[in-house]
Symmetry: C2
Subunit: 215 residues, 2 copies
């Protein structure tokens, strides 16, 4: 059955999904890459996703297991600045062959032509409520899952709207102090889910799995 | 060697160590007992500390292993309301024989006579900086450890002052949304510690161990 899921979404101990300010040089602001050290181990250069162990398996399950048919992301995951588009040549952070290999729906109030990339990724730019954008993504995904790719604002909005079936969170042992909170306005959201947790292979990091309760 | 430690201190996913408002009826406010479900399992009535498994061992290590010689707690852990004392007959939440069995230093700006309880617990009421109160507690503890008992304000102040050697945190799978944050003002505090994590026996709960790095 096709589900809506958040995969490998990392937050700090104080609940921030990104630091600040977000820029082209530092897409996660003062957080740098630290929230994702479990996924891109700094001791291997910080550019290769982990392949082995529990973390490797969860990385594969998040990106490479063939179950995802479409992704939804926020404008600021695609391009760090708010407001009208200022660089029409920008095609995301991920090079010519992005790791999505599916249609990607970028939520934005500012119209933009679709961009077809190598390897099956096409960026579409769309306005609308979470439910409206999800309807488009579901249609594109067919029988496969829809991944809510972040950032924190987007994950929060989809959680708030009750649209997430499964959430794989990673809690990093970092106190960011500031940035964009995943939890703001979500008091009590846990009551909709069964939650389990297990430690990452990386000391101090924790994987959490939120499975929506069957009504 | 005698160390200063925080033991079995529970926080929500969004970093709150208690809900609000704190009252005699609900000492943790809207959080109720949920932050401590791992320690006082609701399925056994919610009044008995867990005795078995990993959680049982960590409960014992927090309270009953004989290594603690003095406790420091905040005024609001002892009595939930701010301001001058209004009930001189109050002797804490813990009955005639509190679980501390050591001197307990309650940090308050409002003077109060010491109270000797059964079983070795004596409540002392003291003003002063964290370092000043710690000096008193260390003297009382002799060769044993000093436990920083909470609430969140006190743990935060001792962390900020660099006075905590070991911190055992428990992260509960709850989004409280409001209350008293452990993390406020502690940006980057993790860099002083080596941190590991392991899942609790209770689904979704996680134990974190913060060990101060040797300089």
């Amino acid at each position: 059955m096709s589900i809506v899921r958040v995969a490998a979404f990392s937050i700090s101990l104080d609940g921030f999904g990104t630091g600040e300010p977000q820029t082209l040089e530092e897409p996660f602001g003062h957080a740098g890459q630290r929230l994702h050290d479990w996924l891109f181990p700094p001791e291997t250069g910080g550019e290769t996703r982990v392949r082995y162990g529990l973390d490797g398996a969860l990385s594969m399950a998040s990106y490479d297991d063939g179950t995802v048919g479409a992704e939804i992301m926020g404008r600021r995951k695609y391009w760090p600045y708010p407001g009208p588009w200022t660089d029409e040549s920008w095609k995301g952070w991920w090079g010519d062959n992005p790791p999505f290999h599916t249609p990607v729906f970028v939520m934005t109030h500012h119209p933009h032509e679709s961009i077809e990339m190598e390897g099956g990724t096409t960026f579409h730019f769309t306005d609308g409520t979470p439910a409206e954008v999800l309807a488009k993504a579901r249609e594109a995904a067919g029988d496969k899952d829809v991944r809510i790719g972040g950032g924190p604002t987007i994950v929060r909005e989809f959680l708030k709207a009750g649209l997430v079936d499964h959430l794989h969170l990673v809690v990093a042992p970092i106190v960011l102090g500031r940035g964009e909170s995943l939890w703001e306005g979500l008091e009590g959201i846990e009551s909709q889910f069964d939650i389990s947790a297990t430690s990452s292979d990386r000391p101090g990091f924790v994987h959490q799995f939120w499975q929506r309760r069957v009504a």
